[in-house]
């Protein structure tokens, strides 16, 4: 059994138990007096107007897509970085080619104003 990964499970359990425990114990001490005005969404004291989950800036989607591209590409960098000192020049040339191809896409995104927020 790979016991070195056991702490991950324990940590998640303990963190959740800490949160749950403090909330459960708190039930005894804390007040619970809900009324309609208290339970409406907070909007700096005004009565909320309109749809809450409204449309937001399209640019957030573009950022997410750019992130996907660059993060997937960074995934290829991890194994490369670890074995770099063993493979040397060959690994280096391979990765330069990879980064060059990526740079083309990067320049394209830049020229298309994907990094611009307006």
């Amino acid at each position: 059994m790979p016991t070195e990964y056991l702490p991950i499970v324990i940590f998640m359990l303990v963190a959740t138990a800490f949160g749950l425990g403090s909330l459960m114990v708190g039930i005894i001490f804390r007040p619970h007096r809900p009324y309609a005005e208290k339970l409406i969404p907070y909007e700096s004291g005004n009565i909320p107007v309109g749809e809450t989950r409204s449309r937001f800036h399209i640019h957030f989607y573009i950022i997410a897509m750019l992130f996907l591209v660059f993060d997937v590409e960074a995934v290829f960098m991890y194994p490369w970085a670890v074995v770099f000192d063993k493979i040397g020049l060959y690994a280096y040339i391979e990765m330069i080619l990879f980064i060059l191809i990526l740079t083309v896409g990067y320049i394209y995104a830049w020229k298309k104003d994907a990094f611009k927020w307006d």
Binding site: A15, F18, R30, P41, Y78, W110
Partner: protein, 370 residues
């Protein structure tokens, strides 16, 4: 070389007695691993508490105020009073909220923060688990934060919270790339993801640290540190919280203990990120001795060295918050995509060239003989 984790040591110390008492072995193994876990989780909570105190005191000094000074000497146990207050506050869940997601989100944020602490080497042999994928593990669990923030923003069904959650997601995922790339510069040098090995291949003196390994790792450190500020949603990148425009961002609908879970996670991550920066770039708790062979008092000295590097970094993060105004969101994105990512890539490529040309050696740092 035989390497022990703290849990294995505890297991060795108590296994014979406990087995004689008839405690089954799986229980014993889990208990041995649970002890360091509990210690570290409490350490993070304590650090988070002390950091809130430090934040209040430092901000007060910078703004020419007195700050917390009523509870305990110099207001030192103010954070406990705050904790008790939050504990006693009413737990409000708005009618419009998605109750399940609303309740789940704080746990995701908290567990992704404390999970990162598993692989942080606290000096000596004090590390919960020296995973051979340590750095990847930290990057992975810190991207779980995005899920928690988006979840809390969406589930609150509140315009401020939704905007805060989305901003937070955009910011964290953007800055994750330069963070990962700047850490990879160091992975290139060491050839390992294990944080304990990264610390062990550095030394006591500043010129043996990886920040001074070559000019590019020096740049990488600053890219890492600033990107980490953005990943933690700290000023000057605190758009998700932005008190003056979004009130409090993704956690605006949270109250009482649920709010304080977000708070503990935020300050805990300051401590963990500083610890990571200290371990990867600044030599961690290395004093030039083998952590697994040294006697206990030397190991405690290593822990002291680790904290002597981590605490100033935490204080710098707090200092930055009270000195810098918030950027605009377009400035934040420009900085990441047009400057940090190209510079981080250039650092990575240049570090690789450096290692090829100088045969793995740094300016002062020498490749250990195989």
């Amino acid at each position: 070389m035989e390497q022990y984790s703290a849990a294995e040591k505890i297991y060795e110390l108590f296994s014979e007695k406990a087995l004689a008492l008839g405690i089954p072995e799986p229980v014993l193994v889990i208990a041995a691993y649970a002890i360091p876990c509990l210690v570290v989780i409490n350490l993070i909570q304590g650090a988070a508490g002390m950091l809130t105190y430090a934040e209040r005191k430092i901000s007060a000094d910078i703004q020419n105020r007195i700050g917390a000074n009523r509870v305990g000497p110099f207001g030192l146990i103010q954070f406990l009073a705050d904790g008790v207050k939050l504990f006693l506050k009413e737990d409000i869940i708005p009618d419009a909220a998605d109750r399940k997601l609303f309740k789940l989100a704080p746990y995701i944020v908290l567990s992704s923060t404390v999970l990162a602490a598993i692989v942080v080497p606290f000096g000596g042999s004090f590390i919960v688990a020296d995973l051979n994928i340590g750095l990847i593990f930290i990057i992975v669990v810190s991207s779980l934060l995005v899920v928690g923030f988006l979840m809390s923003g969406w589930a609150s069904n509140n315009k401020w919270a939704l905007l805060g959650g989305i901003r937070s997601a955009a910011q964290i995922i953007s800055y994750e790339i330069p963070t990962a790339l700047s850490l990879l510069c160091i992975v290139l040098i060491t050839g390992t993801f294990s944080l304990q090995e990264t610390v062990m291949s550095q030394g006591l003196w500043p010129w043996q640290w990886f920040i001074f390994h070559n000019p590019f790792s020096f740049v990488a450190f600053f890219i890492f540190f600033v990107s980490a500020l953005a990943e933690m949603n700290r000023t000057p990148f605190d758009f998700p919280e932005a008190e003056s425009e979004l009130v409090s961002g993704y956690n605006v609908e949270y109250s009482g203990m649920r709010f304080s879970i977000f708070f503990i996670a935020e300050y805990g991550s300051i401590f963990i990120i500083s610890g990571l920066a200290a371990a990867v770039f600044l030599g961690g708790g290395n004093i030039g001795l083998d952590p697994y062979e040294s006697p206990l008092h030397m190991q405690l000295l290593m822990v002291g060295v680790f904290f002597a590097k981590t605490v100033p970094l935490c204080l710098v993060i707090i200092w930055v918050r009270w000195s810098m105004p918030r950027l605009r969101i377009d400035q934040m994105l420009t900085m990441c995509w047009k400057y940090f990512i190209p510079i981080a890539f250039a650092c990575l490529v240049a570090t690789a060239i450096w290692l090829l040309v100088f045969n793995g050696n740094g300016i002062f740092w020498r490749m250990p003989a195989p």
